[in-house]
Symmetry: C2
Subunit: 457 residues, 2 copies
């Protein structure tokens, strides 16, 4: 019998249809939803109509400026229509041929005609349409989004900043003329979420399936304040020295050194102007993470069961060599599919993701959090922020005695790694061997760790 | 360091202010929120203004009929004002003296004047007001709620049905005259949830704290369709025979007998008219629950990690006698506070509640579910539906070879227990001893199990 997480209860496929003027954060929301659902093993993909339009129109130069978006520009209308149709066609193909579960149509979809058309195609294909509108009249928010366009929109990569600003503003005006917002009366039969000024006011209509309600809850919890997240494994433990996994050992002498140095690493990562930034510290319930947090000067320290290390069940307290000898088949099965493999009486990486889900939701709500946890748990959290595929995440190297700082940005997450320069054993086990790597003291980054999006400073 | 669940991140106190005409399900929603939050260890209490009003006015006979609720009835207005003031005063006292976290003011609060007054008092006491309106124009829903009044409202206990109906309808009319619904423009500075026709349309405004967002999510997931929930432990296992806890043993011979008989018990519980009701079966990932489900004719069977038995950590596979001998201090500590006690390397009842929370949320969304799980997990699920206090829930007797059927009703949950009449060992350990009870074969119900609200048929 397959094991179900809360996300797999129904046999529902959802098409999230974004709605809103340009510069309302639609693409950002769409990409976050895809990242979140993918992390939960729900097959999701974003279909950005702008990308299709650029493929079609940009080589001809037709979309070089805002006039392309005028409803009076017949050529523009034709290209844009073609782009939408291609995106929808690809999405429906993806649902059908690749068993997609949540597809996102990332476009303005500002007219009721357009939305009716998407609705009809969804219904024909037995896909639930969920409209997600980002509506905004907060001048400052819009201004900020327009300013970001130079750095985020592929349309203005090689263009002058001033041109980008004025042209983009013009483009928005063209859309405004024809924009029909989602309305509780007119659209009362649609399933929709309407976010007003990010999520200060939210209107939900006919949210029925569990999958829809998860998307709603996630979107409700997003905020756009700038913040950072710090991640660290506990300092080297006595079990690390003997190569044993699991347990609840104390820090080794070098582990204590790391704990003492950690406050300094955090200050270094904050930079000279932000030395007084107040962090909240989250640890697991195990001694080695709490000991590692003990010298941090921050008042708010919370310990979470959900941050405890992967439960190795019957193998708790054993070395990899012992596991290989005593449970050779399990040892091989784990190497073959480390994400799914569940220790006898213990957990798999997938199990950790399920118990981490509320932690991720809370992280989305919070501002500056420093998490001190364990190798497998840290891999899962890192995978969420860095969009690392599940088959790779259990093999990432997250060395001891290294502080990782994540800075979520609109379309990627910046990563910095601050090394303590305190030697530690390696706890990294290569596939197909029970041997652990050389001691690296947090001073080396493995090549497999330089994943897409990991812009290690 | 105390262990935090997701519910304890902030130091926020919330006053949920119900808003809506009579017969809109306000009290039902209020009581469900209290039950849910209490189960999550969040101290919550409902203050029903009707109860205060009855204490003041009923002895004088002033509130004998609907005219009491006319805005023109000066005596009525005076009594009702006094009732509201007493309820608010008691609630504020409860926040202050008893460290209450979520208080619910269950009253109509239909005018903006009244709401402004509550708002002011909340702000003076540093309590976050969250307005929760139930708005309804679905004639059938209202009719059903009005019909329920005879059975649910203490105002009509000794009254004739017809009088109750017409009087209550009149009362609603008095409120309608002065009703001001929550409005996105006028009330834009308030935190509010507006449920329109249960939750087919939901408006959220300024939901900011985590606690508020949990309440919103829970309320969004409630439905009012009638349904039942069936609970069963797995059949007797080989470990049960030897008195060992944990593990992943097979069913014993008698356990298999129970598995074979379970389909018949379910049919019996459905009654002659509902033999074709389709159930969904949920099990844990452990063999004994899946074996127990194997003869059930229902197509949809899901296995959940979150339904696995309490993890006994280092004590997994031991008998209570062995635990008492090897870990005498732990053994005593567990008896002293069984809800909080966490096995070395394992879990506490509180930990189970945290991992069951998504299961409970999903149960609220679903219709007919049969859950086959384990003693401790079943106690926690039962405690949620039956509002059993945490200190009692780990001591409830849930015998083997017994099917429990829960039928949630507006103000209570009906329970029936259907016994298989197949002998099984008792797995019930009394406080202060390592001995298990006598074999009861699911044929006896312990007195301590007859808890308030458990209307065992």
């Amino acid at each position: 019998m397959p094991v179900y997480s809360i996300s797999h209860v129904e046999n529902v496929r959802v098409c999230v249809v974004m709605v809103g003027l340009p510069a309302r954060g639609k693409s950002l929301i769409a990409q976050k939803i895809v990242r979140y659902l993918s992390w939960l093993s729900i097959k999701s993909k974003c279909f950005n109509v702008g990308t299709y339009r650029r493929k079609l129109a940009s080589p001809t130069g037709a979309d070089a400026d805002a006039t392309f978006f005028s409803p009076q520009n017949k050529e523009g209308v034709k290209y844009r229509e073609e782009a939408v149709q291609s995106a929808i066609k690809d999405m429906m193909g993806w649902f059908l041929d690749e068993n997609g579960v949540v597809g996102i149509l990332d476009a303005t979809n500002t007219t009721r005609d357009r939305r009716d058309q998407v609705l009809r195609i969804c219904r024909e294909n037995y896909i639930e349409p969920l409209f997600l509108e980002s509506w905004c009249d907060d001048g400052e928010l819009i201004r900020q989004n327009i300013l970001d366009v130079k750095t985020t929109s592929p349309d203005y990569i090689d263009k002058d900043s001033e041109f980008a600003l004025s042209d983009f503003t013009k483009r928005i005006e063209y859309y405004k003329d024809i924009y029909q917002t989602l309305d509780a009366s007119v659209d009362k039969n649609l399933s929709f979420i309407k976010l007003i000024n990010v999520s200060s006011h939210v209107i939900l209509n006919r949210i029925e399936s569990y999958l829809e309600s998860r998307i709603v809850y996630y979107v409700m919890n997003l905020h756009i304040k700038p913040r950072s997240i710090w991640l660290s494994r506990h300092g080297e433990s006595e079990y690390n020295l003997t190569g044993q996994i699991g347990g609840d050992a104390n820090l080794s002498e070098r582990g204590w050194k790391y704990a003492k140095k950690l406050p300094e690493l955090v200050l270094k990562s904050l930079g000279p102007e932000n030395q007084h930034t107040n962090l909240t510290v989250w640890t697991s319930t195990l001694q080695r993470t709490q000991q590692t947090s003990s010298f941090l000067p921050y008042k708010k320290k919370l310990s979470w069961k959900a941050l405890d290390e992967l439960d190795a069940g019957d193998c708790d307290g054993m070395t990899y060599e012992e596991i290989e000898q005593q449970f050779p088949e399990d040892f091989k099965a784990r190497d073959d599919n480390k994400y799914e493999y569940r220790y006898r009486g213990g957990e798999s990486y997938r199990d950790i993701v399920i118990r981490l889900e509320p932690i991720i939701m809370e992280l989305e709500r919070q501002e500056n959090i420093l998490i001190i946890t364990h190798q497998a748990v840290l891999r899962c959290i890192y995978a969420y922020f860095m969009n690392v595929p599940q088959e790779e995440s259990p093999w990432m190297s997250i060395p001891l005695h290294t502080l990782i700082k994540l800075e979520p940005r609109a379309y990627s997450t910046l990563v910095s790694r601050i090394k303590a320069d305190i030697p530690a054993v390696s706890t990294y086990k290569e596939k197909g061997t029970s041997q652990l790597g050389e001691s690296d003291g947090g001073n080396s980054v493995r090549s497999r760790d330089l994943l897409k999006g990991d812009q290690t400073k």
